[in-house]
């Protein structure tokens, strides 16, 4: 399974993501600078977390409009899997590849802590190493993770099983509607996720609950 990590200026969890992919998948991902002309032929494209363009305007807004996103969109339409974590999720929503928006946390504060995630749909390429309803631990670190979509959109993503991860009861850290932490597109091959599974993959991280997402994708 070949993968690529796309890097925009201002991202800062790119190194964490690259390390996670290499540790779990065994081979390092291709690293693609946002201005590179070519995106290699891969099965998985990952957009990591950070503050692309300093989160100016709206998080992810500027990165979402860079030319490489057209290439990524086109690959996604051909079925290539795309994973956006944190800022990556924000970029995917801004690019229109995922529905809804990620607004400022209800507390208005940045929040970094461990939360619990409930697997809402284990029947996706991103979650098939987990069981439906399983509760896993996962760290978060974001300022804008408050998922919002209009009632109609929300209904449709719920009905289609596009909600893959929810903050487990009592741990919603940001005010997200329906406790949404991660969703896919309608086709199920693009996942956006606010939490950072890449920071919980080794015993030294204090746990390995985040591995499943990568293990399912990379092997």
């Amino acid at each position: 399974m070949k993968s690529a990590v796309v890097v925009f200026p201002g991202l800062n969890r790119d190194r964490d993501m690259i390390a996670a992919i290499e540790k779990i998948g065994g081979t390092p991902p291709a690293i693609v600078w946002h201005k590179d002309a070519e995106l290699p032929d891969v099965d998985l494209i990952v957009i990591p977390g950070g503050f692309s363009y300093g989160d100016a305007l709206r998080p992810g807004a500027i990165a979402a409009r860079s030319p490489i996103m057209d290439v990524i969109r086109e690959r996604a339409e051909r079925g290539v899997k795309v994973l956006g974590v944190c800022n990556g999720f924000q970029i995917l929503t801004e690019a229109g590849m995922l529905p809804g928006v990620l607004m400022r946390n209800a507390s208005l504060r940045f929040v970094c802590r461990e939360i619990k995630l409930k697997v809402a749909n284990a029947n996706t390429a991103f979650s098939n190493r987990y069981a439906d309803g399983q509760i896993i631990r996962c760290p978060i670190a974001h300022h804008d993770g408050n998922y919002f979509a209009d009632a109609e959109t929300l209904q449709s993503i719920e009905d289609n099983g596009q909600v893959v991860f929810r903050y487990a009861e009592g741990t919603n850290p940001n005010g997200s509607l329906n406790d949404i932490a991660g969703i896919t597109n309608a086709a199920g091959n693009v996942l956006g996720l606010m939490p950072h599974p890449e920071n919980l993959i080794e015993p030294e991280h204090g746990g390995e609950d985040g591995r499943g997402i990568f293990a399912g994708l990379l092997t």
């Binding site: 201002g10 800062n12 503050f51 363009y53 970094c112 802590r113 760290p139 920071n199």
Partner: protein, 742 residues
């Protein structure tokens, strides 16, 4: 605004620049003529307290700054310490007190930005940050706003830049009401053979400006007073610097990329007094002159004058001397990252600092004398009077006292603060804030880890600056030891009031003496630091606050320790205890926070004892005998036990000594003590062997209790459930801050 260079130099103007008449006379003698306006600005920048350390230099020189592992001590952007395997840890701490009081978010943010730049200027990738914050009393009308803004600013910058915050301090006291302290620490990793310095080498080489454009940020109040404002200026010019972590992150990546090409001869970040300080330092250190052409400096505002460009404190800028043949390659790297790159001058052999602007020479000064001849003062000082002995000890129920302390402003959990910081980024955090020290693993190394802690007890320092200075160093050292780290070296951030007052100068002198003594005894050299003076409002100085931040090395991270009770039924030892476990109540948290009394002498620090206790604890951790370790500091045994119980979600039953007042036992702040839980049978041979070892080391390590259950029971006092402790501990900060908006 027109701000001309032919402006007349009046005594008022000189005074506005913070220069004393004798200092101005020194300038006249040095250059043999009246300075130009730009030159006056340059002198004021170079000769102010912040850059010249004129009040503290004499005393700073007495600090121990070298050791077998020290690669670079004070004098560069940051200290450099060898951690083996060809790697070094590069670190420093710096204050941003005044700017943070004026504009808490930006002040704190740019403080973090500045210290990160100091670290990566030396070729190190930042891997850990800390912040030591001191605010006024919680009830003061400004405090909430300042807490909210400073914390958001520290996080806003560090989180975007991408460095994990692994520790810090937050304290409240009335004495910081009008003058908060924001001390920021950063550490980075570098290869020992790829460290970069600020000393320029070679004549006729390009001096290159990198990073963000220059604006009028931070151009001092003196300029405002002396500026002629044009009609178009309808607002007072802001002097607040605004930070841009997005630019800083790109600057980091571009600098590291550039350094790898071998193009860099010398590099210096532009911090206080930006272009002036950085250019003069690079030249003076290299015994070279520097010539700058200001028409080539990238600016973001119109009609900037030479004076403004020389004094601007715009953030995210660097100055380098480059190998000329690599200039094109270097430019390409900076353009890739979307940053300014401009050749703004060259090195010369005339030892002059010459500045040109619009075809005119606006400064021509002897470069070495600008730094070397800066005034240095041996300010009069008086040794602070020793505090009166403690009067009668007020009494309170032990359980009530513990609950009172653990739910109070200065002892409650700091979670509300550190959850606003990214503590996990880079994926190497082994111990995040909340422990005795932050711990990160050394990326790519199978076993090593580094520990970081920042400490000082300003109340101890006020009561006795010498003992307080010693104690700050020792507490930092102890915190590192408690994680299993060998303390390597430290940085200091000396925050005091007005040094022109002999009592304050006395605090400074005695604190530095105490710090020096402790550092020498503990082999814990000071490799970098910063002095912040004149922290006072309306003649009332802050509490003397010499913050010490230290770094320790854990050779094998599988053998480290945490401060949470680990399992039921484990004996608790009080390593390093005096015969009656605890006794010293002077300047204790018990007296201050429960009875409002700042009284008595602070506890004395016995450095010989500290060393022995530390070595003993390190041994227990490395041999895998210790299952949890926590050093004791303010709040004493009771607070230490409660913290271990809360962190571990596990209770304990602790004895008390017959016929002995339980208050000093549980709340005394005797130094040199650690709580250690062990996985040994208290009746068994191994335990006896442990006590033999302690005895041989001259230490008392009484078995004071055992972990277990869901409550903490201290001697005869009523048991308090861990849940209740937790509520009190976690409740204060969120309750206090409520729904504040940054």
């Amino acid at each position: 605004m027109t701000l001309r260079n032919d402006i007349e130099i009046t005594p008022e103007l000189v005074a506005d620049h913070g220069l004393k008449p004798e200092e101005y006379q020194k300038i006249l003698d040095l250059i043999g003529r009246e300075p130009t306006f730009t030159e006056l600005g340059i002198f004021s920048a170079m000769w102010n307290e912040h850059c010249s350390y004129k009040s503290s230099k004499k005393w700073l020189r007495t600090l121990p700054t070298s050791g077998p592992r020290v690669i670079q001590g004070p004098g560069e952007n940051a200290g450099v310490v060898d951690i083996g395997d060809g790697q070094a840890i590069v670190f420093k701490m710096e204050s941003h007190n005044h700017p943070s009081f004026i504009e808490p978010y930006q002040g704190a943010a740019t403080g973090v930005g500045g210290i990160l730049r100091d670290v990566f200027t030396m070729g190190a990738r930042p891997v850990a940050a800390m912040n030591a914050l001191r605010f006024g009393e919680p009830d003061h009308e400004k405090t909430r706003h300042l807490v909210s803004g400073v914390v958001a600013g520290v996080g806003g910058y560090g989180n975007s830049f991408g460095v994990p915050t692994v520790g810090g301090e937050v304290q409240f006291d009335r004495r910081y009401n009008g003058n908060i302290l924001v001390n920021a620490f950063a550490a980075g990793l570098a290869d020992t053979d790829k460290i970069f310095y600020s000393k320029a080498k070679g004549v006729g080489l390009p001096v290159v400006y990198l990073g963000a454009k220059t604006g009028r940020d931070g151009v001092g109040g003196a300029t405002m007073a002396s500026a002629e404002f044009g009609d178009d200026i309808d607002e007072k010019r802001p002097t607040v610097q605004v930070g841009d972590p997005f630019t800083e992150k790109r600057l980091l990546e571009a600098c590291l990329e550039l350094m790898a090409t071998g193009a860099v001869i010398a590099i210096q970040d532009m911090g206080a007094a930006g272009l002036t300080c950085s250019a003069v330092e690079m030249g003076a250190k290299g015994d070279l002159g520097i010539e700058l052409d200001l028409d080539t400096v990238p600016v973001r505002e119109e009609r900037m004058t030479a004076y403004e460009m020389m004094l601007s404190e715009s953030q995210e800028r660097m100055l380098m001397v480059l190998h000329p043949e690599k200039e094109a390659e270097a430019r390409a790297i900076f353009e890739k990252w979307g940053l300014d790159f401009a050749t703004v001058g060259k090195t010369t052999d005339d030892l002059r600092f010459r500045v040109f602007f619009e075809g005119e020479e606006v400064a021509n000064l002897p470069i070495k004398e600008l730094g070397d001849e800066a005034p240095e003062y041996d300010r009069p000082w008086v040794e602070p009077a020793k505090p009166a002995p403690l009067g009668e000890l007020p009494h309170m129920d032990v359980a009530d006292a513990l609950l009172g302390l653990i739910g109070s402003a200065n002892h409650a959990s700091r979670r509300w603060v550190y959850e606003q910081y990214d503590t996990l980024i880079q994926g190497n955090s082994l111990q995040t804030p909340g422990g005795d020290a932050g711990v990160i693993r050394v990326e790519g190394h199978a076993q090593k880890a580094l520990a970081f802690s920042s400490d000082v007890n300003p109340h101890y320092c006020e009561a006795d600056p010498f003992e307080g200075g010693k104690q700050a160093v020792t507490e930092c050292w102890r915190n590192l030891v408690a994680t299993g780290a060998e303390p390597l070296a430290a940085t200091d951030n000396l925050n005091f009031g007005n040094p022109e007052r002999p009592e304050i100068m006395g605090q400074i002198v005695m604190a530095i003496k105490g710090i020096g003594e402790a550092c020498r005894a503990l082999d814990f050299p000071i490799v970098s630091g910063n002095v912040s003076l004149y922290n006072e409002t309306n003649g009332q100085g802050i509490l003397p606050t010499p913050t010490i931040a230290g770094v320790g090395l854990i050779e094998d991270r599988a053998k480290s320790a945490r401060n949470a009770f680990a399992a039921e039924g484990q004996p608790i030892l009080l390593v390093g205890a005096p015969a009656i476990w605890g006794s010293h109540m002077g300047q204790s948290a018990y007296l201050r926070d429960l009875f409002g009394r700042n009284e008595g002498p602070p506890p004395a620090v016995n450095l010989d004892h500290e060393k022995k206790a530390g070595q003993f604890v390190l041994g227990l951790i490395r041999e895998g005998i210790a299952t949890a370790v926590h050093d004791l500091s303010d709040g004493g045994l009771a607070l230490g036990l409660a913290e271990m119980a809360i962190k571990g979600g596990l209770g304990a039953t602790v004895n008390q000594l017959n016929d002995i007042d339980p208050v000093p036992t549980f709340f005394g702040e005797d130094q040199g003590r650690y709580l250690v839980t062990v996985n040994l049978d208290p009746q068994g041979d191994e335990m006896r062997a442990l006590w033999k070892r302690a005895e041989a080391a001259g230490l008392f390590a009484p078995w004071i209790g055992v972990t277990g259950g869901d409550a903490l029971k201290l001697g005869e006092a009523r048991a308090i459930s861990v849940e209740q402790l937790q509520e009190a501990y976690e409740g204060w900060f969120p309750g206090y801050m409520g729904a504040t908006v940054n």
